[in-house]
Amino acid sequence: MVAPARRAPSIDAAMIRDWLDGVPDPEIPALSVVDLGIVREIAWREDDDGAVLSVMVTPTYSGCPAHEVIVESIRARLLEHGIERVDIQTRVAPPWTTDWISDAGRRKLERYGIAPPRALADGATPPCPACGSDDTECVSRFGSTPCKALYRCRACLEPFDYFKCH
């Protein structure tokens, strides 16, 4: 007997990645999980019941409270596109780094008012995402989430979050 043709495995990983680019990070909704660089692998495999889509996710910080929500959002988005059999796995090694945030993601962060991560010389501070001034100061090493630090601009006086290099 010939097994019925299955549509799912014909959907290539790039298209699925595009779909996941519509899944926002719950704490920084300006960024998608793809922008954030936490979706590491998308691949089809076969088991006894047919095709399974395997998605490998690497969490940002160990204690990131958004991780479970992200996993469920990915599952929901794939279901919307008719992919029911999904195996989402969490992988910690190699550890996530802010280097994995895409260029598009960095631009979105800046527009959203969060200074994107960048290599800073000793004593240097990130430029203000509101007015662009370099005259900024650190207020606290942690902002509203573990991945951010709190800064203040001395030029326009706006406080802002800085996405820490990690």
Binding site: P59, Y61, G63, V92, A93, P95, W96, S140, F142, L150
Partner: protein
């Protein structure tokens, strides 16, 4: 080949890593809503959150190594004091901000050295977890160092309080560097770190910061010990009573 004795040692060792992080996370989050400034309130909770995430990783792995069907929740919420393997320093009451800062500083430096070594463990599960955690802990160390300087070089009162906190906690630091059968066996197998070897490196690092903050490194007198064997201070029981209440009162509760 499956090595039951080595797995038993690894289970003990993973409990030490997990329980240190879990109990200190619980102490740090006691500050939530009570920090001296909003920014520090958030920072303390965020450091606690990092540690809680690390605890989940180590305790999940401990449960897998034990192979008795216990997951992270069973290990965190269904063990009593005698089965906890954290060092005594992390269970001590949070005290004032100086005491919390001093504890964090002394612990962070030990934690960083330990994780840096564990990131090179021959057991890739341990190496992977440590490589992730070490990036978080490096940041904790920087924050703690800054606070030691700020308090040491701050007002006469902040100077006196941080000095006293370091003196009170110093006798609890020795335990972190005690080697025993568990650590020696695993270190020899390339899986874990021999803590005794880290002591001089730690002493150099913390002494430099203490000295730079115009503070005095306390003299070595004696070291409290017992946490790694399950012999705890009275404080751990109260902490667990609060942390475990819900799962004890409503076993298997989910929401």
């Amino acid at each position: 080949m499956h090595d039951a004795t080595r797995d038993a040692a690894l289970f003990e060792y993973l409990l030490r890593l997990g329980d240190n992080a879990l109990v200190l996370a619980q102490r740090l989050t006691e500050w939530c809503g009570h920090g001296p400034a909003l920014e520090e309130d958030i920072a303390l909770s965020n450091v606690g959150l990092d540690l809680l995430g690390q605890a989940r990783y180590w305790l999940t792995l401990a449960g897998q190594v034990e192979g008795a069907g216990r997951d992270e929740d069973a290990l965190a919420f269904r063990r009593d004091t005698i089965d906890f393997r954290n060092a005594l320093i992390v269970e001590l009451p949070r005290g004032d901000f100086a005491r919390t800062t001093a504890r964090q500083f002394l612990f962070d430096h030990w934690h960083l050295l330990t994780l840096e070594r564990l990131a090179r463990s021959d057991d890739e599960r341990i190496a992977g977890g440590a490589a992730k955690a070490v990036k978080e802990v490096r940041y904790h160390v920087e924050r703690s160092n800054e606070w030691i300087c700020l308090l040491g070089d701050g007002t006469a009162e902040s100077h006196e309080r941080i000095q006293r906190a370091i003196e009170d906690l110093w006798p609890y630091t020795g335990e972190l560097f005690e080697s025993d059968d568990v650590s020696t066996r695993l270190a020899r197998a390339g899986v874990a770190v021999d803590p005794a070897g880290l002591h001089p490196v730690w002493d150099d690092a913390v002494s430099r910061v203490i000295d730079g903050a115009s503070l005095q490194r306390p003299a070595d007198t004696f070291a409290h010990s017992g946490g790694f064997r399950g012999v705890h201070t009275e404080h751990l029981g109260y902490l667990l009573a609060e942390m475990q209440f819900l799962q004890r009162a409503y076993p298997e509760a989910t929401w």
